[in-house]
């Protein structure tokens, strides 16, 4: 059976400007807002490596790596 795609996502905190775009657009609700509004990874396991966050972060501070499940 084909394994479901999984990703590992990191936020480079010092570059994050707390715009909330990744938090709102992630279809798997992987992020939450920290008290200062910056994105924080809350639920790593849910990440499907769709890269929507990476493509929409205006500040180049979300990185997604696809996890090899083989």
């Amino acid at each position: 059976m084909l394994a479901k795609k999984q990703g590992h996502v990191t936020v480079v905190e010092k570059l994050c400007k707390a715009c909330g775009i990744c938090i709102a657009l992630c279809p798997a609700q992987v992020f939450v807002a920290a008290p200062d509004g910056r994105a924080r990874v809350a639920d790593q396991e849910k990440c499907t490596a769709c890269r929507i966050c990476e493509m929409h972060c205006p500040d180049f501070c979300v990185e997604v790596e696809e996890i090899d499940n083989e």
């Binding site: 707390a18 775009i21 990476e54 493509m55 205006p58 500040d59 180049f60």
Partner: protein, 272 residues
């Protein structure tokens, strides 16, 4: 993002743009396009005018020219004429392109030189505090139109088509993946290509139009966008207020540098 960042950026982030500014999304989509195109960086030049969006050339690790307000196209024309093998991209804001640079824009379309213009349309003069531009939608507010603009806006894509551009497309920052595809298609097309990008300025536009949060502007774009295929099945009434995205026009006309070379060959070969 890491590999993209390593390859196409000068690594001087953070950039100057406000939180949630669409310019960063366009820059990211462009870097992905560069990766797909596989162009040699030394054979690629990015030219910009003046404005928030025009700051893009300060972050890209290519040959770059950050020029004068509205004058990116004349500079780009000079680059392409002297180096016809160069891949030339031009980044402009809506004010930069359609207001002060409007005359250069229509003539660049007419001339049909092989280069790709990316116009970041955030509907406003961002850098100078949110004055309305020729692309501010009718009725939308700006610092110089506090009760809503009574100027009709240009349809930049129709303008480009009418002026002779050979490739005309419209994308947006919500559909970021499609935006990369449009930039790639525009770059591969021989002739003058325009990619108008519906973009977001939460600070100077969103704030005045009840969409201060970046995601509100993004969702507004999503709700107002229709693809070319869907638009074909809609009535004019249904299309009212919608923005059609996709490759809107594509023809193969005479390309300027090629025609100029043909002329040289003819004259230098003793012809008339």
């Amino acid at each position: 993002m890491n590999a993209l960042y390593e390859n196409y950026f000068r690594k001087n982030l953070p950039h100057i743009w406000c939180s949630g500014c669409g310019n960063g999304i366009v820059m990211s989509a462009f870097a992905r396009a560069m990766e797909q195109l596989g162009y040699d960086k030394n054979k690629t030049t990015a030219v910009s005018g003046i404005g928030c969006s025009s700051r893009i050339t300060g972050y890209l690790d290519l040959n770059t020219l950050h020029t004068a307000h509205g004058r990116a196209l004349p500079f780009a024309t000079g680059v392409k004429m002297s180096e016809p093998e160069m891949n030339v991209f031009i980044f402009m804001g809506d004010g930069d392109c359609a207001a002060i640079g409007g005359n250069h824009f229509i003539h660049a379309c007419r001339r049909n030189m092989d280069m790709t213009a990316i116009v970041i349309n955030n509907h406003i003069y961002g850098m100078t505090g949110g004055q309305f531009s020729p692309l501010t939608p009718f009725g939308k507010k700006a610092t110089t139109a506090p009760y809503g603009s009574v100027d009709p806006a240009f349809d930049l894509c129709e303008l480009a088509k009418g002026a002779g551009a050979n490739f005309v497309a419209r994308g947006n920052v919500y559909h970021a993946k499609q935006l990369t595809d449009l930039i790639v298609a525009g770059a591969r097309h021989k002739g003058f290509s325009l990619i108008e990008v519906m973009a977001t300025c939460p600070v100077s536009y969103g704030r005045h139009n009840k969409m201060p949060k970046p995601i509100e502007l993004m969702n507004h774009i999503k709700e107002n966008t229709v693809s070319l295929a869907r638009a074909a099945k809609m009535t004019p009434e249904e299309l009212e207020g919608k923005v059609v995205n996709g490759i809107l026009h594509q023809v193969d006309g005479k390309e300027y540098c090629q025609e100029y070379q043909n002329l040289l060959d003819r004259i230098q070969g003793g012809g008339k």
